[in-house]
Symmetry: C2
Subunit: 198 residues, 2 copies
Amino acid sequence: MATRTDAPTRREQILKEAARLFAERGFHGVGVDEIGAAVGISGPGLYRHFAGKDAMLAELLVGISGQLLTGAKRRLAEADGVPPEAVLDSLIEGHIDFALDDRPLITLHDRELDRLRDSDRKLVRQLQRQYVELWVEIVREVYPELTEPTARSAVHSVFGLLNSTPHLGRPGSLPGRGVTAQLLHRMARGAFGAAGVE
Amino acid sequence: MATRTDAPTRREQILKEAARLFAERGFHGVGVDEIGAAVGISGPGLYRHFAGKDAMLAELLVGISGQLLTGAKRRLAEADGVPPEAVLDSLIEGHIDFALDDRPLITLHDRELDRLRDSDRKLVRQLQRQYVELWVEIVREVYPELTEPTARSAVHSVFGLLNSTPHLGRPGSLPGRGVTAQLLHRMARGAFGAAGVE
DNA sequence: CAGGGAGGTTAGCGGTCGTTAACCTGAAGG
DNA sequence: CCTTCAGGTTAACGACCGCTAACCTCCCTG
């Protein structure tokens, strides 16, 4: 896989700053002038790169959902002959990496979905649903005692747990990335394990 | 305890509808005319009851944090001689009740805090901090192997888990309130239990 | 029965915001 | 050297939105 070493394009700069600002103050709370200023150009200059403010949010949210789903699919594909426990661990790890590395995106992900045009929102929801179903399948292999609806609820709840990283204080105050990742991982496993004891 | 049977005041109607609308479309995404329409009056009519749109959000958020903290304090006060496990269960139960009964408020709670005036935001954060500290204390009694920072992270994560109810589909699609509450409770306990195995 | 406050109404002001229009500039290509 | 075009700029428009002003109408009370 060719890791990119080239400088980020202007488009990518804009998306990154827009994500940060949207996460901080909400989609409606940020003006295009602000986004422009964050990358060193003025508001209307953004329209050389995006059709409008909505388009930025759409691209961000579709990108997030797609990235999560693609990553999960890749992990599943690589898991031939691997015990389901290890596959679940891999899914959890992937989600945690994303939550820790792209905190603004995780925040947007479940906060601004309703601001999208109908078609975009449907697409995002479809990607999210596929991602969830993928988890549900593996979770039920590891914890066969879980019914399907219970497993789905449990998956959503664990997402809530893993996505709580934005609330864990600013990056500096955390006890270290690796430690936090391991804590979240253990807790997710513990939560799944406890979901089915009835 | 005198349960109120009297009709809700106009003020309370407004707050309830405002909470729902803010949760659905975000603070900036809702106009005062809409809030007014939701209770059968026109936009500017709201100013007979509130100083402004900001004041509604402030009252909602302060109310939420206060209610959570007050409930938790009451539960602690009632727990004289009760084993810490039971106290923790009581805290979890209280939080779940709130999350399931007032889903719009839970959504607002960690989504629109930054839209508040400085003084209000400080107050809310202070109430939230007290609530967290209260949990941390009990959690460490039940799970003494947890260090203090770990326990605090764990508490935040469990809040993420418990507050995930808004993502569990519309009220009808849930497997029943009691069942959901029990599932969340078990998972929260499981998550705490797994937090400290190192 | 006067009057006054509580709780509405509509009209409209002022500011903000997304977007477009019109123009400029520097670098690449024939 | 002229053209083209990507990627900027500023000015300005139109819509929307929070809020105030001015007014109206019950209902309660002395």
